[in-house]
Subunit: 307 residues, 2 copies
């Protein structure tokens, strides 16, 4: 079904993978150029920041920025800086998530997590500084001559990632451990914890490109749906994939007694929900025609990935 | 000497203290209004953020914003929002500093530190979300109609507080524990760790008020000098004050084997250096006449405080 669906939008799974890995390489080159290690004894901080953000990953959020920006004629350089920014924000959240006081994860993408490779204090500060730098990249005049676009991007990132977004969702998640949550509560948790930043990444291209309100609303709706689809698929993966496939510990949700889409809908039901969201996400992009083919294929990829 | 010096700039110590406490009350009212606790299970996050940022303190950074803003005719509402933002940024740094993996401090201003009152995970996330909200307040259109001012404030805050500013300084400080540092290295450490944010707080009023380049440079130089004076005085206090006076553990620098202004210059030498910086800071403000009297008195206060 994967190949048939992806080809239906004109992009083969192999072509999407190539596009994703090309984008990841360009985003990583941008991160590499921005994160220059200075000479003083603070060098270790920059090394930890580089370790956290240059340690691989799908670059899904950065890819969303690049693809939506391309719909609106944004310069590659500006889109790459915004992509690097959202990847820094995401990396900071992973570094802090992995800390002993949080998820206590020794591994991230099959490698020692940042506090294991360095130490806890350095990991806390590297996460802090990655968050700061994510905002710094957005408000720097080097990004765009129009300050209102820079300020709007930073505002959207703050709303997506702060107490009313990602961090709020993390706290809801912590509070829910060992408790039974209803489907609506699980939806809200994930809309905040992971959905808000994915939606922001999609919208960022529309903000950068001064998209008209209808186009921006469609991009936002697409971002919201693939954000949810991503999480539903994540729950399915946590329940069905191996540690080796995930590059991290599988089965953690069950062990933590968390309510998930799988615990509420079953593995098949969750899979069907992910497919429904994928089709809905693709439908939002119809007016963009073939220029949105990679974004449509990405929706399919998100629900069918094995890691 | 305190009274004589302070009166020389036209403000009695009592009048300055009243001005500081009036400003603190207005800043706290602004923080209280911005940090509304929502209804969901994320309420605990907002309670921790409020605990961290509303737990008292001199509000030195916020006061600097208000006073420099008043030199340039900035609206009280905008100045208060920027003051609240810098106090959030400062509070986030204290919450993370106090964590077991960092300074492991159980007390802050005589009260349980945030991770002791809540738990470590909540404290990490509350610190994270306070940082985000500090930037959110600056880029929100509610602050100022001119987006270039909003973006410039956020850029200045990012540079002062991130890897090239406060957080970089914290790492240099950690790396220097148990090592002997030269005076230049100690100066650089503190210019980053505490000086950059204090200087930013002073400059923020000038940015908000679109100060001309000469005025802005004077305000920045004042901010730099009182930032250094503040730290020199802090080292003297750490070596001479009691736990009760400080509201935190005294003598920590010595116990940690840190090079300080006191270990390098002696208590008397450090006191003289603080006085020299105070006079130099006041000199930068001469062109502003009596409208800068509170800022001049503040320079004296910073070096003569006992906590």
């Amino acid at each position: 079904m994967s190949a048939a669906m992806a080809e239906a939008v004109g992009i083969s799974p192999a072509a999407l993978k190539q596009s994703l890995s090309d984008a990841a390489a360009r985003i990583e080159a941008t991160l590499d150029a921005v994160l220059v290690v200075p000479g003083g004894s603070e060098a270790i901080l920059f090394e930890a920041m580089r370790y956290a953000v240059l340690g691989g990953g799908k670059r899904l959020r950065g890819y969303l920025v690049l693809q939506t920006a391309s719909l609106f004629g944004v310069s590659e350089e500006a889109a790459l800086r915004v992509a690097a920014s959202v990847e820094m924000l995401h990396a900071y959240s992973l570094v802090h998530d992995d800390l002993p006081a949080m998820d206590d994860d020794d591994l991230r993408r099959g490698q020692p997590s940042t506090h294991r490779r360095f130490d806890e204090a350095t990991a806390i500060l590297a996460g802090d500084a990655l968050q700061t730098m994510a905002f710094e990249l957005l408000v720097d005049p080097a990004l765009h001559e129009d300050a209102s676009i820079r300020a709007e991007l930073a505002l959207a990132l703050a709303r997506a990632s702060g107490a009313h977004g990602m961090v709020g969702g993390q706290v809801i998640d912590m509070q829910g451990e060992g408790k039974s949550l209803a489907l609506d509560a699980v939806r809200r948790l994930h809309a905040l914890k992971t959905g808000a930043l994915i939606r922001y990444a999609a919208e960022a291209g529309a903000i950068l490109g001064r998209a008209d309100p209808d186009a921006r609303a469609r991009i936002a709706a697409y971002g919201r749906d693939i954000g949810t689809a991503f999480q539903v698929a994540d729950d399915v993966l946590d329940a069905t994939a191996s540690d080796a496939e995930l590059g991290k510990t599988a089965g953690k949700d069950l062990a933590a007694g968390k309510s998930t889409y799988v615990s509420l809908l079953g593995i098949e039901g969750a899979g069907a929900e992910a497919q429904r969201l994928c089709v809905q996400a693709q439908d939002h992009l119809k007016p963009f025609g073939h220029s949105a083919d990679y974004l449509k294929a990405l929706a399919q990829f998100v629900v069918e990935r094995r890691n």
